[in-house]
Symmetry: C2
Subunit: 702 residues, 2 copies
């Protein structure tokens, strides 16, 4: 039973009932019998000016202001390109906005559409005729992953690139095992790529992929018969060498339960507390997991934290790969692709699961169970010191609270997590896994170095690509009114009085006055970005309260400035952007990324040169991988891990984890393996007898 | 009982008996009654040309070549500056070399010496007289951390900087609690810094530290009375706010035991196997933990892996801080400083401990119990893919084998670990913790920004400093005869045929022909260093077998090229050096770092421009932190974590962790907290009933 008074929290994700109400209100605006393809039905969060007083009242127990609850919707009139945005006020029942968008704005894909497109193209006579040229073995099962079409600005007689379409890549299951639905079809990419109009579901063009080392492309008539190749399956029962048998179980147990609490701030929203941290967790279609109102020990830190965008441009400049750049959040949605996480599979230990509810293409609520898993994990030592005079060691272990969500974007997976620790750090972890996007390569060319990819299997090229992630921080470090400062470590010039030996260096702080981008050249400057509150000073050293940002190094987008890849990925050219807060500016690549042309997104907003003096900055952090595939990335790639860390800097009086109880054997219950795993005849060390660990008067456990 | 035949393995760390034999052989070379201060008694590893055939014979079971076992020693004639190196052949009982070194070569410190210096200086009348100027409270306990003297090339009348000495920093315990031996004296730095001659133990100079914002320094007579300040203790019983009580225990259990095995390849050396990995572990005074002969699935990867050096130059250019640069390995020794690790404190789970034995200053064996701990840990998801058509997920968890050692260098701690995983990666983890080196600041200046440090406590400045670590890789990727190649990702120019849309990029590979340094400007080039074996090609794509290197970004040393800091830290100016293997070139900063002047170390060796065409490269990887302290780094700093990853790249036919059994609840025994931690009245989600996790037909557990 959810108490009724929980419902109207302004940050509560939409409920199933609200989704139904909102889509009904849109339907009523159209003639009976109109068919809809709903693309987005999501909470329209209140503007900051309205929400800040609400959250303050919530904290101090004063009466809560009434905030109208609004829903943002986007939809097509089904089977047309007529794309609309709408705004519904649930508090009044009014349809406050309902407008058709220009022809070059296109919605994200949805699961229903992707299945329908695959079905349609595989029944297309032209596609069937092209496939026949390949003379595939009898019984072969062909499958298709419809990709977003991308943009190249080319409008020829056949097809204008600003019409919503999918560039579909074809594969087949292992022809020796066509009845296995989980056969890894990415091992068998085919050279035929139909383009399908998303409204009519008609094939509007059939592209043949370049399969050599240069830009030459065969015609359909020149296609040659497929040559047999072995499979490379990832399902465990197909591992021909068998599975390892010597990896022993490892359990994580919390015999006294977990250290965190969960409560509902709305039907779907959850508040969490853990080790002085307190925050709210939301979930929506576009961004997936969102954190709100993050505090540590009662002190405000972040108003809103979200993954804002992703872009994955590919290196291959040959048609049609030159258009291949995925914006997985805008083109599909991190919420929509969230996995149903399973106990014992996706997390280890004691796990709390949070559900979501989204809308399907019919505008009906779609339950999304277990989209976020929450657990604690040990993270090694938090801090240690041994006094060499007394040999007394004090050791404190680090603990992390992990909120994880996992996306499947056709072939690929992203494991995304917010991580809190005992020392005041917040980290954002990305693990990239899944199956690299594969393309066919002419047999016999495998051992010739390829300019745009790595051969990972006979006849299979995995193209080079860059991954860009954009994290959006809306900060309230020690309160609202923050200033972003970058700090460079700079060598002092020689000086006969101050620096006669040439060893001195200092830190140069530069506060940002206007919205801008920043680069980070660690080797040259050791630059670190701080989000500061000049109004709140450290009680001892007087420095402004701050959180600093540690970003992994990133190679900005390699596509040139005039390319559509670069124009569209408005965030992929700099590791940091800082803008002034503006309502509805949540997505670094703009609202509608599918076949976008640029002009909407963080680069555009930063170019306004908004003053930051009034202190409402939004910080956009970009990071990523230039993925030059390895053979070891196939058939499923081991995770590539990235971590962004937000770390207090003169925010707290001293190490905030000084009060964590020391690590002791009485609590940790570790086990000594000496005399167990070793084959040293029961002995170890210099004297033939090894003292029992844990009973040897260890000072840190005293 | 150690079987006698284990003793003579050429990579076995010295045994207690061997230490005694070796020092006895040195003693016999001198008149009876000569007093010695032994500084180094360590295994002289055989040259590669001798050891490679031995290791090969060991593997294929053929007769083992006889290899003479040698010991390298360094010692002073006690109470003199007469410093000697010696080489003992244990196999013949011969003292093969025994030579006095030039006057400007100085040995590492040792524990006995540090205690003796502290005792001597605190009894020095001049120091006592200076301390009296501070009018410390009655009963105050003054302590001293003797620091290496450093180098500035200054030879004035009082003292030549090439005489072995210590620059000693003075502190006191909390005067309100002088009987607490673990009171954090770094909270009370004093402005008096005696310089002590290491041979005579006499105070040769008393420096007064600069305590303002500029280079001005008081005389002893100008010293002002100490002003009261509060303590900042780290011991748990002194946390005045109490300790947290809500962090619940977290246990790691391996009910079927650990997955690794340990055997003795010598009395002190241990061979380990885990998940297709096999390697030997040694331990010595200088480098601490060393790994030898690392294989995966029977394939050779690394001949020798070690932390080669560290340098920590400080930013403060004022006398005497301008000389402050620690080389913790060369100046003291990672083995000598290794903590005695305690069960339930320094690792969690099922732990195997390895002991060491070193020599003390008397040349006697000194047991070093529990210097390395070995355990497995869960590391999240290794790889995952969900087929969106069938919703079947396959999830494999990552597991790591961790070999950890922890150093205490007076105020500071380093947690160092080699980490192996299931996907063929080897990582080297550094966690920097402990207490920042503190210096006194005039009271009242705390809130004025300081050019060279951060105020972390009233009257306490923590100086900016850089940490440089140098990892030495002696590779044998797929066998000996390796080539180092760097790979840059470069944009293609526009081209009407190949790159008409400006999106293309490719990878440019450059093999190194001669020894050199390399820089990594990720933003500009995305550079990645590969260690390759051109003679061993990937069976599918023909690429050379390789491991690639992922380094965290580093700001090279800020001290200028002509400074002693830069001259001495021969490795701190570039993230990568590659040299040709040469016997005895193990330490990036040279053999004797204490008061060194440069001219010995990896920069010097690389400058030989040795040809690498014959294929025996040694790769030196530098990484570190520019530590601008935060208030949160006091009194003990939370770990700053760094990870270097060595990752296979076209070394294995496919993902080497494809054969790891999928993650299942039957093995992992996780626990659902839904309905336990949440206050949602036993419900969760959209429909008021939450299905029991783990029993909902999870496909990944099928």
């Amino acid at each position: 039973m959810i108490a009724k008074e929980l419902l109207p929290h302004p940050l509560g994700p939409l409920t199933a009932a609200e989704i139904t109400t909102a889509t009904d209100l849109v339907r009523k605006a159209w003639p009976a019998g109109t068919l809809f393809q709903f693309k987005v039905v999501t909470l329209q969060e209140p503007p900051k000016s309205v929400l800040i007083p609400y959250l303050a009242a919530e904290k101090d127990g004063s009466p809560l202001p009434a905030i109208p609850r609004r829903v943002f919707l986007a939809y097509y009139l089904r089977n047309t390109h007529k794309f609309h945005e709408a705004l519904v006020n649930l508090s009044t029942g009014a349809l406050e906005r309902n407008a058709r968008l220009p022809e070059d704005k296109h919605a994200n894909g949805d699961g229903e559409e992707i299945i329908a497109i695959e079905k349609a193209l595989l029944a297309d006579p032209g596609v069937i005729a092209a496939l026949e040229k390949l003379k595939l073995p009898a019984g072969t099962v062909v499958v298709s992953d419809p990709w977003i079409y991308g943009s190249d600005g080319v409008r020829n007689g056949l097809f204008r690139d600003d019409v919503r379409a999918k560039q579909c890549f074809l594969y087949m299951r292992d022809p020796a095992n066509p009845d296995e639905p989980d056969s890894c079809h990415y091992t068998f990419p085919l050279p035929i790529s139909p383009v399908v109009d998303c409204a009519s579901l008609k094939v509007v063009r059939i592209d043949i992929l370049p399969t050599g080392l240069d830009a030459s492309i065969k015609t359909i008539d020149e296609l040659e018969p497929w040559q047999p190749a072995p499979p490379s399956e990832y399902i465990p029962e197909a591992q021909t060498g068998g599975l390892r048998t010597d990896l022993k179980p490892l359990h994580v147990a919390q015999p006294e339960g977990a250290s965190f609490t969960v409560s509902a701030y709305s039907e779907m929203g959850r508040s969490m507390t853990w080790q002085k941290w307190a925050f709210k967790v939301g979930f929506n279609q576009r961004e997936g997991m969102v954190l709100y109102d993050v505090h540590y020990d009662g002190r405000p830190l972040f108003y809103r934290l979200s993954l804002s965008d992703m872009a994955i441009p590919y290196a291959d400049p040959r048609h049609p790969f030159h258009k291949k750049q995925a914006f997985d959040l805008g083109d599909v949605g991190a919420g929509l692709m969230a996995n149903n996480l399973q106990l014992g599979c996706d997390c280890l230990g004691s796990i709390y699961y949070m559900d979501g509810v989204l809308a399907d293409a019919q505008g009906r609520p779609q339950a999304m169970p277990n989209v976020i898993c929450v657990h604690e994990q040990d993270a090694g030592i938090a801090w240690k010191h041994t006094n060499y005079r007394t040999d007394r060691a004090v050791v404190v272990r680090q603990r992390e609270l992990v909120l994880q969500t996992i996306l499947t974007v056709s072939n690929y997976e992203y494991i995304l997590a917010w991580v809190f620790n005992l020392s005041g750090d917040i980290a954002y972890d990305v693990r990239a896994t899944g199956i690299v996007s594969s393309q066919p390569l002419d047999r016999g060319l495998e051992k010739t170095p390829h300019p745009f990819g790595t051969v990972v299997h006979p006849g299979v090229l995995a193209g080079h690509h860059q991954h860009f992630f954009s994290l959006r921080l809306d900060p309230m470090i020690a309160g609202h009114g923050n200033t972003v400062v970058y700090k460079d470590a700079v060598a002092l010039p020689r000086d006969p009085v101050l620096n006669p030996h040439g060893v001195g260096y200092t830190v140069k702080s530069t506060p940002l006055k206007t919205s801008c981008s920043l680069d980070i050249d660690t080797a040259a400057t050791g630059r670190v970005v701080h989000i500061t509150n000049p109004a709140v000073r450290h009680p001892i050293n007087g420095a402004p309260a701050a959180y600093k940002v540690h970003l992994p190094p990133m190679q900005p987008i390699l596509a040139d400035r005039d390319s559509f890849h670069c124009k569209r990925a408005e965030f992929a050219d700099h590791p940091v952007y800082v803008t002034r807060y503006a309502e509805d500016e949540l997505y670094a690549g703009g609202t509608w990324t599918n076949q976008s042309r640029g002009g909407d997104g963080v680069r555009t907003w930063a170019a306004r040169n908004d003053s930051l003096e009034a202190g409402d900055p939004v910080v956009w952090l970009q990071f990523g991988i230039n993925h030059i595939p390895r053979a070891e990335d196939f058939p499923v790639m081991p995770c590539e891990n990235l971590r962004v860390t937000l770390r207090p800097a003169n925010m707290f009086e001293r190490n905030p984890s000084m009060d964590v109880p020391p690590s002791t054997q009485a609590v940790n219950c570790s086990v000594s393996l000496n005399g167990v795993v070793d084959k040293v005849n029961g002995t170890n060390g210099t004297n033939g007898t090894h003292k029992a660990n844990g009973t040897n008067g260890s000072s840190c456990c005293a």
